[in-house]
């Protein structure tokens, strides 16, 4: 659990983060979203003391994060930045082993951990361990950057625009991978992004920041349905709002009784994907198929349009 209490950061006269109080529950993803200059990166960097708060306290699992020296604190917190920040003169294996080396792990343990992480990120250790970062594709570099941050098994992972340098198709894959990884490892993640779409997709809770203040901190459905200020509403984008709402829930939650004809939709797909398939096929309803391949009912345009409406 991460608790920020009345955290502020001033540089001379200008206050870049103003009185932020929020709590990130364990094993969840919090997305901080805002325009550039909103203070979101400064807020993130205060958690691992790359920036020292001017006021307020930050507690990690109930303990003030100033109780240990900064470099020891950072070794316990994963850190991923835009453009990966891999060390160009070190191999992939050496990059991933950075924090284990700082912690003085035995060589065998480090090697086993590096191989485990490479395998987890779908990179064959025999092929990739000895490569240098410039010999990897953008997507591979990004995965190595995340693997490096997870090397010592941190409970908390800080990510600053982690997918910012990736092209859209690779970004979608990287986002999906991060979600399944987080579900599997249970790591608490705080992620900074300027992309509301990414925040809605990844965040269990979203903090919207502007001019150093957190305007709203709530689950995505709440942000979409009840934006706290005109700024949040503008950021969410009124034109896209119903579709974003649908993208938060799986088809399984919108299944109705009945048998219909047509190409079946997977129950695990989002309701937004289902609506797109319905509109594209020109049919009012399509069958829904479970993961086992059994038809469990239908999904209808009428049913989805009710779910896309502003919640009461």
């Amino acid at each position: 659990m991460i608790e920020l209490e009345h955290v502020s950061k001033r540089y001379g006269e200008t206050e870049v983060v103003s009185d932020v109080t929020l709590t990130v529950p364990p094993r969840s993803i919090a997305a901080i979203v805002g325009t550039s200059g909103s203070g979101k990166t400064t807020l993130l960097r205060m958690i691992n003391r790359l920036v020292e708060p001017s006021a307020g306290t930050i507690k990690l699992d109930g303990v003030d994060h100033r109780s240990v020296p900064p470099h020891e604190l950072r070794r316990r917190i994963g850190y991923v930045i835009q453009g990966h920040g891999l060390f160009p003169h070190r191999t992939v294996a050496q990059n991933i082993a950075t924090v284990p080396a700082l912690l003085g792990w035995p060589r065998a343990k480090t090697k086993a951990r590096v191989d485990e992480l490479l395998t987890l990120f779908q990179l064959d250790p025999a092929e990739f361990a000895a490569r240098y970062p410039h010999e990897l594709s953008g997507g591979q570099q990004q995965r190595v950057g995340v693997a490096r941050a997870l090397a010592a098994g941190p409970n908390l992972l800080l990510m600053d625009e982690p997918f910012g340098a990736l092209d859209p198709i690779i970004r979608a894959k990287a986002q999906a991978d991060l979600l399944s990884l987080q579900a599997r490892l249970g790591t608490t993640i705080i992620l900074v992004t300027h992309d509301i779409e990414e925040a809605v997709l990844l965040g269990h809770r979203i903090a919207v920041m502007d001019a150093g203040r957190v305007l709203q901190y709530a689950p995505p459905s709440e942000i979409l349905a009840r934006p706290a200020t005109p700024f949040v509403e503008a950021l969410v984008g009124t034109g896209e709002r119903p579709f974003k709402l649908l993208s938060l829930k799986p088809v399984a939650e919108a299944v109705e009784q009945g048998i219909v004809e047509g190409e079946p939709i997977a129950a695990s797909a989002t309701q937004r994907d289902a609506l797109a398939a319905l509109l594209w096929s020109g049919r009012p309803a399509l069958p829904v198929q479970s993961a086992e391949g059994v038809i469990i009912g239908k999904v209808t345009v009428a049913g989805l349009s009710k779910r896309a409406a502003r919640p009461e």
């Binding site: 070794r75 160009p88 490096r148």
Partner: protein, 390 residues
């Protein structure tokens, strides 16, 4: 555009220049004969300087190599032709010395003349061009340097050049030559070592403290603009004062003239390239890598030794290269204030108008600077190899 049925002339542009130079040089004086070491010499063309058989052989090798150069031939063939011509020239200039010197005459002097130098220049150009086209790796370049050094050592050891005036000057002062050579290297390398020890930490400090950087670099820039002879002169007074007033200073060799001001001046000249390259090298470390290193819990010292210095190393080595080549050349001037080194022969030779003696000081200096440049260029490339692109 060339039409397909009319083939383009298969001549090499640089090769044509080399061919023209070689043709002109073949008729120019190959060696100079002088009755003693200070009278003006008389030129001797190839067919006068060499026995008929050797002269024909040399002309044939030169013509053959020039032909290879002028045609569009593959790089290895061009290199082989250049090396064959250079080796023949090197061997036959020694033969010419023996051929031209009258028997039992210890005063006569034979030296290479314009024809030899022009031919040497033309085929050295061909060799350099061929080496560039071959794009040798760093280790291959070091091996090539070692092979050339070994070949020259072999020619010297076999006495092939003993008849040349340069070697006669050497024979008269062999002990002195090696002593001054050792002094020359001690001056150049000692001031380099001091500049590394002082310059890299100063560069790191300038990188960290941005206000300091401009002040330090401007001051070092100013020192760099003082002419070397003036700097030697400027140092005489303070060092003389230290020697006279500080107990023990003169015992360890600090004096107004001699090696101390020379070493100090070389050190001061070395500081700018060392500090500037350290600052530039550290500044070009990718900001993201530095941020990641901090964010993962490296201390300032760990970041410096594990990330910043390794990534700045190629640029710092380039600074060391500049300093070493510069110091090997500048150390020649140290002889003016009694600092010793190869400059001793240069200034003695100028005083006696004995050009051979000047060359005895100048040739090893140029050779040392050349070898140092090749070695350190290769070192820069080797250290930059793994992660040169980000």
């Amino acid at each position: 555009m060339a039409t397909p049925d009319r083939p383009r002339p298969s001549f090499d542009k640089l090769g044509l220049v080399i061919g023209i130079v070689a043709a002109a040089a073949a008729g120019a004086p190959f060696a100079t004969f002088r009755a003693n070491r200070i009278v003006p010499g008389e030129g001797r063309a190839i067919w006068e300087a060499l026995p008929a058989g050797w002269a024909t052989a040399l002309l044939l090798v030169v013509a053959g190599a020039a032909l290879v150069a002028m045609l569009r031939s593959p790089a290895p063939a061009r290199l082989a032709a250049a090396l064959a011509a250079l080796a023949t020239l090197a061997l036959l200039i020694g033969t010419a010395a023996h051929h031209l010197t009258p028997p039992d005459n210890a005063y006569a002097r034979v030296a290479p003349a314009s024809g030899f130098w022009l031919l040497g220049f033309a085929f050295a150009l061909l060799a350099a061009d061929a080496l560039t086209r071959l794009q040798l790796s760093a280790t291959a370049r070091i091996a090539a340097l070692a092979a050339v050094a070994a070949a020259i050592w072999l020619l010297l050891a076999l006495g092939a050049w003993d008849g040349l005036s340069l070697l006669k000057e050497y024979a008269n002062r062999a002990d002195r030559f090696w002593a001054e050579g050792a002094r020359h290297l001690a001056l150049a390398l000692g001031s380099l070592a001091a500049a590394i020890v002082a310059g890299i930490p100063l560069g790191i400090l300038c990188h960290r403290v941005s206000g300091l950087r401009d002040a330090v670099l401007n001051l070092l820039n100013m020192i760099q603009t003082i002419p070397s002879i003036a700097l030697f002169g400027l140092l005489i007074a303070p060092l003389g004062w230290i020697a006279a007033n500080l107990p023990g200073a003169s015992v360890i060799g600090i004096r107004g003239i001699g090696a101390a001001p020379a070493a100090l001046a070389l050190f001061l000249y070395s500081l700018l390239p060392m500090v500037a390259n350290t600052v530039v090298g550290l500044a070009q470390v990718p900001a993201a890598a530095n941020d990641a290193a901090r964010g993962m819990g490296m201390t300032a010292r760990q970041r410096l030794t594990r990330i910043e210095l390794p990534l700045a190393l190629p640029v710092i080595l380039a600074g060391i290269r500049i300093v070493l080549v510069q110091n090997i050349g500048l150390a020649t001037i140290a002889a003016l204030i009694g600092g010793g080194g190869f400059g001793v022969f240069v200034f003695q030779g100028l005083g006696q108008t004995a050009m051979d003696l000047v060359l005895l000081g100048a040739v090893p200096t140029v050779a040392l600077a050349f070898a140092a440049a090749i070695l350190l260029d290769a070192a820069v490339e080797l250290t930059a190899a793994p992660g040169s692109r980000v």
